[in-house]
Amino acid sequence: MFDPGLPYRCSPSVALRPEPFGALVYHFGTRRLSFLKTPQLVDVVSGLEHHADAHGAVEAAGVAQPQRPAYLRALAGLAANGTIEER
């Protein structure tokens, strides 16, 4: 279960490919593709490992307050599909 108060990182099995819309995500373990649909979400996901918790990464990426719940929901989805994981 995703908890934004815990430390996360991008899974080592995952590669992010920068694209104009954000990034393409490829999981080498599950061979699934998914898409990060804003550049800011790419910043959040790649910044996770540098922050004590997920909240910190969202804040550091400069996500405006009203949008933060949506970003946390996105992170919960990414945790559920294995793109990000607790560290």
Binding site: E19, P20, L24, R32, F35, K37, Y71, A74, A76, N81
Partner: protein, 406 residues
């Protein structure tokens, strides 16, 4: 902007790349979309092919769909397979099964990051061999048996839908289930030798409806390479990417290194460049005139006022081109029948576009004559190719910020 709108303007690298390693083939299927048979002496060497893999790795193309011809008849096929996988470029290869004996099946079962797709165009030997040639059904079955015996997890059985096999859909599914395989069905294109048999083999209008209903009932249980998007005009959209990917998210590298907009468009009109040129594949993908043109906004042409344009967007570029229809008009298999009308209205005096690239064993040696028809490049519309992102879309709890690909 929706994700598919972004896709229309092209990506830094393709999502779905088909790479045909050789035009050589032990079979001579009547509908071969690459008119394969004889090896081309200009085929990329092992070193050149490895150079392409290096480039794909640098471009973060995470896997390739390898085909041919019959790719496994290249003596360096297994070497290239290992090289690609070792460089984080996963491989899904299509084969008629000729080389998949017990030893190779065991080798594949030990290899991570490889998918095998066995071609089968009839659930019975008579239907299959009519199209793919004598003995080809048995070859495919033997390969599937060897893979199952070796413990290879979930190969794919790839079927091109024809007038003769639409009624066998349940039988194909039963064969797939028997071998622990996944069924994948794709559309017959009038490309390559397919142009010669399309009139005879393409499903009737009633069969298209039957196929659509079957697919809707099966959901994501059956793969389609997103190739039936033109049927979405019947109502409910089929799972998959709803966009013609040609030159935008999809392309083809052929055995001599030529880069085409899509695997069904081997014709000089859709030739973007060659991987042997300065800048290699990346230069072609990112800067070729053709691909930049394909990424321009489209108008919809004659289809624009149709109620269903949003769901089918005019259908498949290659299907239109090789049946002599304008690229900005209806697909020849338009579910509303506009394609049939357009086919009937063609000027019989104008020859159909034909590719100069023909390696059929029975064909005369390549002749370089004038190209009889030139038709302006319009925009293709939907993902007509073997898209890996079948079924991606908004989930119930979608935040709107990322799209999972189930």
């Amino acid at each position: 902007m929706k994700l598919v709108d972004h896709f229309q303007y092209g990506l830094n690298s393709p999502i779905c790349l088909t790479w045909e390693l050789t035009y050589a083939c032990n079979l001579a299927c009547v509908h071969c979309l690459s008119s394969s048979g004889r090896r081309d002496p200009r085929e990329l060497t092992t070193a050149e092919a490895k150079g392409v893999v290096d480039e794909l790795m640098a471009m973060q193309v995470f896997y390739v769909n390898i085909g041919g011809g019959e790719p496994t008849v290249r003596p360096d096929f297994w070497e290239l397979l290992d090289y690609s996988i070792d460089h984080n470029v996963g491989v899904k290869f299509s084969t008629n099964g000729i080389k998949l004996d017990g030893r190779r099946a065991a080798q594949l079962a030990r290899t991570d990051y490889v998918d095998v797709q066995i071609s089968l165009d009839g659930a019975t030997a008579d239907v299959n061999d009519h199209v793919r040639g004598p003995g080809s059904y048995d070859t495919a079955m033997r390969a599937l048996e060897n893979l199952a015996a070796a413990g290879f997890g979930q190969p794919k059985i790839s079927v091109v839908m024809t007038r003769q096999n639409v009624d066998q859909l349940d039988d194909f599914k039963a064969i797939a289930d028997k071998f622990g395989a996944q069924l994948r069905i794709t559309r017959l294109r009038p490309s390559g030798r397919g142009a010669d048999v399309w009139d005879e083999l393409h499903p009737t209008a009633a069969q298209q409806r039957q196929l659509y209903d079957w697919l809707v009932a099966r959901g994501e249980d059956v793969l389609t390479g997103d190739s039936f998007f033109h049927l979405s005009a019947y109502g409910e959209a089929l799972p998959g990417l709803n966009l013609c990917g040609a030159g935008r998210v999809v392309c083809l590298i052929d055995p001599v290194g030529d880069v085409y907009a899509c695997p069904f468009a081997i014709h000089e009109q859709f030739l973007a460049g060659n991987v042997r040129s300065p800048g290699g594949f990346q230069e072609v993908w990112q800067h070729s005139e053709l691909f930049l043109e394909l990424r321009q906004p489209q108008t919809g042409g004659a289809c624009q006022s149709c109620l269903h344009y949003d769901s089918c967007q005019g259908g498949c570029m290659a299907a239109k081109f090789f049946t002599g229809l304008p690229l900005d008009g209806p697909d020849p298999e338009c579910v509303r029948g506009f394609g049939e009308q357009a086919l009937a209205a063609r000027d019989g005096a104008v020859p159909l576009p034909k590719s100069e690239v023909d390696h059929s064993r029975s064909a005369p040696r390549k002749t370089r004559g004038p190209v009889p028809v030139t038709i302006g490049i319009g925009r293709p519309d939907r993902a007509c190719e073997t898209s890996p992102i079948a079924g991606f879309g908004a989930s119930a709890n979608d935040s709107g910020l990322f799209s999972p690909a189930p």
